[in-house]
Symmetry: C2
Subunit: 218 residues, 2 copies
């Protein structure tokens, strides 16, 4: 009702094209033996802090590339540099999510030779990235304790399609009166398929289990 029918028809075609390109990416990643993650969350959930700590702690252990998407600025790429990983910033100039062809172009530019792990940090948005496959092996949804326990219920598309859910900023759980049981119940209800990690990039809490998961998959 709300959306113009012509747009819907063309969007379906464009999504189909994106799926094709994602399948091509996936094939290339598989051929090269690279494990690929697409990390999605709200703005400010702590994606960059989580990834910065991961890169620092695994530096020298797993050859890693990171593609970072933002509407504007290269702040996030700069935060991730100097930790032994190849880092490339995509600035989408107002575009609200990454698409498979952007990833293909970024991979060409960055070069995939020698990588074992490729991390895509998507644009901060709980809605639009959910419908765009990038060719990843694993979609990681981040949810910080400051955001409220009902986010999986209110943004179901992302949580239904994620393989991993990371509850971030656990160091703030007490300060925000985080209701852990309610949050996990909502998460398991919407995303029973998802493996859940509870972490704090600040204190390091729970990061060990996350690294073991990565080591097991790479």
């Amino acid at each position: 009702m709300m959306k113009d029918r012509r747009i819907l028809a063309i969007e379906e075609a464009v999504l189909a094209k994106n799926d094709q390109m994602a399948a091509r990416n996936r094939e290339e990643f598989k051929r090269r033996g690279i494990f690929v993650m697409n990390v999605v969350s709200s703005p400010g959930s702590g994606k960059t802090a989580f990834l910065a700590r991961t890169l620092a702690d695994l530096a020298g252990e797993i050859p890693t590339g990171v593609i970072v998407g933002d509407l504007a600025t290269d702040n996030d790429a700069r935060r991730l540099e100097g930790k032994g990983a190849r880092v490339l910033q995509i600035t989408t100039d107002g575009y609200c999510h990454l698409e498979a062809n952007m990833i293909a172009a970024a991979c060409d530019q960055m070069g995939l030779d020698g990588l074992k792990l490729l991390i895509v940090e998507n644009v901060g948005n709980l809605v639009c990235p959910s419908t765009h496959d990038l060719g990843e092996d694993v979609r990681v949804a981040l949810l910080s304790v400051t955001e409220g326990e009902d986010k999986p219920l209110k943004y179901p598309v992302l949580f239904k399609t994620c393989h991993v859910a990371v509850v971030s900023k656990m160091d703030l759980a007490e300060a925000v009166e985080f209701d852990r049981e309610a949050a996990l119940a909502n998460l398991h209800g919407v995303a029973p398929q998802a493996q859940v990690f509870e972490v704090s990039a600040k204190t390091g809490l729970g990061m060990g289990a996350w690294y073991d998961f990565l080591r097991g998959r790479v």
Copy 2:
């Protein structure tokens, strides 16, 4: 490059149509003497808590209606009920922002008679609502201290077009090591036009200045 040209052309037409409908909404609100706010932020920035406290504290003083947009659930409407305001939930079924025609339909359903203030709580998204005028007098951008000081730089479209910026969850400023000076400098840099309020809906900090602003505008 990234976006299909046919979609761009049709989107422009749809945006123009939205602008027309927004102008019609604005005219109707003006005719009725209703002050209208469009509240936009990331998921989990505290829009609902901020509005719940506002409704409770101003109950009986300003006849208020609230239209709440979410992808799924009526959780937010339920949190806002019982505080003396008329509340209507729009469930967008995956759609990532509200549009002017949705607001017109919601107003018909809710009824505007007797209202002095209409608050629209948009879908949690820092990107897509920025380009859709709803017919509001004032666009309010919420930014919580937990999200990081550089959000205005990374999501410039919203902050450039807002009239009011509310820094929320100030009670958590210390726990998250919020750099107030950096955040305000970024805010003033991107949004020099915006009136800024620093608040905590939990402790009530700064809410008085916000109510004075509302009283002045209604």
